[in-house]
C-alpha cells in the first residue's frame, strides 16, 4: 500500500508537470499579450515604450526562461504579480477560492443528495409512470446548459418576485449564506444531479438482478433495506466515478454560472484574466485547478477501496 501511494503520488507529479507545460504554451500560442492589448487601446504605439513594458514584465525573455521563472515560483508559492491590478497574484486569487469552493461543494451536494435517491427510486420503480417522469426530468437536466438555466431562473424570479437574487458577499447567518449560493448552485448542479441519477439508475438495475439481492429478501429484509443497504452499496462505485469527474467539469460550468449570477468567484475571474492575457493569474489559477482535479481523481480511486472490499491497492 505504501509503495502504491508513493508510485501514485509520483505519477500525479508527472501529470501536473505535463499540465503545466500545456498551460504555459497554450497561453503563449493565443495571439497578443497584455502589452499589445494595452497599446491597441491607446491607439498610438511607440515601439520603444512597448519593448520597455515587455521587458519590465519579463515577457521578452525566451519562453523556456519564462517557464522556469513561473514554475519555480509556483512551487515556492510565489505567484508573481497580476499584470492588470499589479497586486500579488496570490492576493487576487485566494479570497475568491472560498466563494467558488462553496458554490462547487453545494452543487455537488445537490447532485449527490438529489441524484442518488431519485436514481434508486427510478430503478426500483422501473417501467412505472414515476420512472418515466424522473427519466424525462433527468434528460432535461442533461439537455439544458447551465447558463441558459441560470438565465431562465433570473428571468423567472424577476417576473414572479420583481427582483433577482443578488450575491451577498458577507452573509451574516447560515441561512443567508445558503440563500446566496443555493440558486446558482442548483442551476449548475441540476446537470450533475441528472447525470448522477441516470448512472445510479442503471447501476442499480444491474445490481438488483443479482443473486445476493434475492438472498437479502430471503432473509426477510425490508424493501428499503434491500434497496439502500444491499443494492446501493454495490451500485455506488460508478456513481462515485461520475461525481468525481463532475467535480472536475464543474469548473467549466461555473465559469458561465458565475458570470450569469454575477458572483466574484475564481471561475469568472479566470475568464477576465484570459481576456487580458494576465499570464500570472491564468497560469497559476489553472494550475491550482489542475491540482484540485488530480487530487479529486486520486480521492475517487481511494474511495473505491473503501466502498468495495474486493479492490485493494497492492504493489
Amino acid at each position: 500500500m505504501f509503495a502504491y501511494l508513493v508510485r501514485r503520488l509520483f505519477l500525479m507529479f508527472v501529470t501536473l508537470f505535463g499540465i503545466s507545460i500545456v498551460i504555459f504554451f497554450l497561453l503563449r500560442i493565443v495571439p497578443g499579450n497584455i502589452v499589445d492589448i494595452l497599446f491597441a487601446a491607446a491607439g498610438y504605439v511607440d515601439p520603444a515604450d512597448k519593448a520597455n513594458l515587455e521587458k519590465e514584465l519579463g515577457i521578452d525573455r525566451p519562453l523556456i526562461v519564462q517557464y522556469w521563472h513561473w514554475i519555480s515560483g509556483f512551487l515556492r508559492g510565489d505567484f508573481g504579480f497580476s499584470y492588470v491590478s499589479e497586486k500579488p497574484a496570490l492576493q487576487e486569487i485566494l479570497p475568491r477560492i472560498p466563494i467558488t469552493a462553496r458554490l462547487a461543494g453545494l452543487a455537488l451536494l445537490f447532485s449527490a443528495s438529489i441524484g442518488i435517491p431519485l436514481g434508486v427510486i427510478s430503478a426500483v420503480k422501473q417501467g412505472t409512470k414515476l420512472d418515466y417522469a424522473l427519466r424525462v426530468v433527468s434528460l432535461s437536466g442533461l439537455s439544458l446548459p447551465s447558463f441558459w438555466l441560470g438565465l431562465l431562473i433570473l428571468t423567472a424570479s424577476v417576473a414572479m418576485f420583481g427582483q433577482m437574487p443578488i450575491f451577498n458577499p458577507n452573509p451574516q447567518t447560515w441561512l443567508e449564506a445558503f440563500a446566496t449560493y443555493a440558486v446558482p448552485a442548483a442551476a449548475v448542479g441540476f446537470r450533475s444531479a441528472a447525470l448522477t441519477m441516470r448512472i445510479t439508475r442503471s447501476s442499480m438495475l444491474e445490481v438488483l438482478r443479482q443473486d445476493y439481492i434475492r438472498t437479502a429478501r430471503a432473509k426477510g429484509a425490508s424493501e428499503a433495506a434491500v434497496n439502500y443497504h444491499h443494492a446501493l452499496k454495490n451500485a455506488i462505485l460508478p456513481v462515485i466515478t461520475v461525481i468525481g469527474i463532475e467535480a472536475a467539469f464543474l469548473i467549466g460550468g461555473l465559469i458561465v454560472t458565475e458570470t450569469v449570477f454575477n458572483i466574484p468567484g475564481v471561475a469568472r475571474f479566470l475568464v477576465e484574466a484570459i481576456r487580458w492575457r494576465d499570464y500570472p493569474i491564468v497560469q497559476n489559477l489553472v494550475m491550482l485547478i489542475a491540482v484540485v482535479v488530480v487530487f479529486a481523481n486520486f480521492t475517487v480511486d481511494m474511495l473505491y477501496a473503501v466502498f468495495d472490499p474486493r479492490i485493494r491497492y497492492t504493489d
Binding site: Q210, D211, Y212, R214, T215, A216, R217, A218, K219, G220, A221, S222, H230, K233, N234, F307, D308, P309, R310
Partner: protein
C-alpha cells in the same frame, strides 16, 4: 391421510403462473406435497420443470411481474403463508422458512462481511444486541465447521472458497433455527468432493435442529443419499411421488425411469464402458401452450393415443406411491 400433527409444511394445489410476451405459462401447476418435522423431501426434475419456481413460491419470492401465485395454499406450521401481508411474510422469511441457493459465489453480498450478513439475518428476527447477534453468528459459523470462525466472520465473500461460502450461506439460513429449510441445488456449483461434504453437513444440521428440508436437485444420486421421500416434477406438475426406496426400486413414471437410466454407471472391470449415455430424447416442452394430454407424451416410448388426449390423474399405486401415467403398470415391464 396420515397424522398431520408433525407437518411442518403442507402445500396444496399450488399454482404459479408467469405472464410473458408469448403468453401465460403455468410454471407450477396444481402441486401438492407436505414435509414433516425432520424429514427430507427431494424434488427432482430437469431444468425448467418448475423446481426453483416451487421453492420461490414457498418463500413468496417469485418475481412479480412477470410471475404470480394464482392458487392453492401453503401452510407452514399451521399458518397460511399465501394470505399473509408482505410485512408478516417478511417476519417468516429467514426466520421460520429459509433458503439456500445454487450459486454460493454470487448469493452473498460482496461488499458485506460474512459475519455481518449472518448478524443481519439474526437481528431481523430477534430483538437482541449487536454483540449477542455477533456471538450467534460466530457460533453458526462454528456449527457449519468453518475453521477460525471469528476470523472468517470478518472476511468478505471473495476471500472464501466456494465450499466455504456455501457453508456460510447455510449458517445464515439456519441462524434463526427455521422450521423448514429449502435447499435449491445447494451443491450443483461445487466440486464433487465438496458436494459430499456440504450434503453431509446439511443432513447433520437438519438432524440436530429437527428442521424439515426440501431439497431441490436434478441429481438422483444426491436424492438416494439424502431424502426420505421424492417428488418428480415434469413441466410444472408432480408426475410421481414415493418413498426413496420405492422410487428407486420401481419407478412408475416413464420420465422417472428415463432420469434413472441417464445416471452414468461405473462399468465393472473388464467390461467395456458404455459407448453412449442413455438420454431422454427431446427437451422439456415450452410451458406456453402445453398439450392437452400428458406433457411427457411426445418424448415417451410408451405413449399411446390416450396419453395425448387426456392428462393422466395422479393415482395411488399402493403404499403412498403416486404416479400420473396411463401406463404406470407397464413401465416396470418395459425397462
Amino acid at each position: 391421510m396420515a397424522d398431520t400433527s408433525d407437518l411442518v409444511l403442507d402445500v396444496r394445489n399450488l399454482k404459479t403462473v408467469f405472464f410473458t410476451n408469448s403468453g401465460l405459462f403455468k410454471a407450477v401447476d396444481d402441486l401438492s406435497f407436505n414435509v414433516r418435522r425432520g424429514e427430507t423431501l427431494a424434488i427432482v426434475g430437469e431444468s425448467g420443470c418448475g423446481k426453483s419456481v416451487t421453492a420461490l413460491s414457498l418463500m413468496r419470492l417469485v418475481p412479480d411481474p412477470p410471475g404470480r401465485i394464482v392458487g392453492g395454499s401453503v401452510t407452514l406450521e399451521g399458518t397460511e403463508l399465501l394470505s399473509l401481508d408482505e410485512a408478516q411474510m417478511r417476519a417468516v422469511r429467514g426466520n421460520r422458512i429459509s433458503m439456500i441457493f445454487q450459486e454460493p459465489m454470487t448469493s452473498l453480498n460482496p461488499v458485506m462481511r460474512i459475519g455481518d450478513q449472518i448478524v443481519e439475518a439474526v437481528r431481523l428476527h430477534r430483538s437482541i444486541t449487536a454483540k449477542e447477534a455477533h456471538d450467534i453468528a460466530i457460533e453458526m459459523l462454528r456449527l457449519v465447521r468453518i475453521p477460525e470462525p471469528a476470523r472468517r466472520a470478518r472476511e468478505y465473500p471473495h476471500q472464501l472458497s466456494g465450499g466455504m461460502r456455501q457453508r456460510a450461506m447455510i449458517a445464515m439460513a439456519l441462524a434463526c433455527r427455521p422450521a423448514l429449510l429449502i435447499a435449491d441445488e445447494p451443491t450443483t456449483a461445487l466440486d464433487v468432493t465438496i458436494q459430499a461434504q456440504i450434503l453431509a453437513l446439511i443432513l447433520d444440521l437438519q438432524k440436530e435442529l429437527g428442521t424439515g428440508l426440501v431439497l431441490i436437485t436434478h441429481d438422483l444420486g444426491v436424492v438416494a443419499q439424502t431424502a426420505q421421500r421424492v417428488i418428480v416434477m415434469y413441466a410444472g406438475r408432480k408426475v410421481e411421488e414415493a418413498s426413496v426406496e420405492a422410487l428407486f426400486a420401481s419407478p412408475m413414471h416413464p420420465y422417472t425411469r428415463g432420469l434413472m437410466a441417464s445416471i452414468p454407471a461405473v462399468p465393472a472391470s473388464g467390461v467395456p464402458a458404455q459407448a453412449r449415455l442413455n438420454e431422454i430424447p427431446g427437451t422439456v416442452p415450452s410451458l406456453v401452450g402445453l398439450p392437452r394430454g400428458c406433457a411427457f407424451a411426445p418424448r415417451c416410448k410408451l405413449a399411446i393415443k390416450r396419453c395425448e388426449a387426456e392428462y393422466p390423474p395422479l393415482a395411488d399405486w399402493g403404499g403412498g406411491h403416486l404416479a400420473a401415467c396411463w401406463r404406470a403398470e407397464d413401465v416396470a415391464e418395459v425397462a
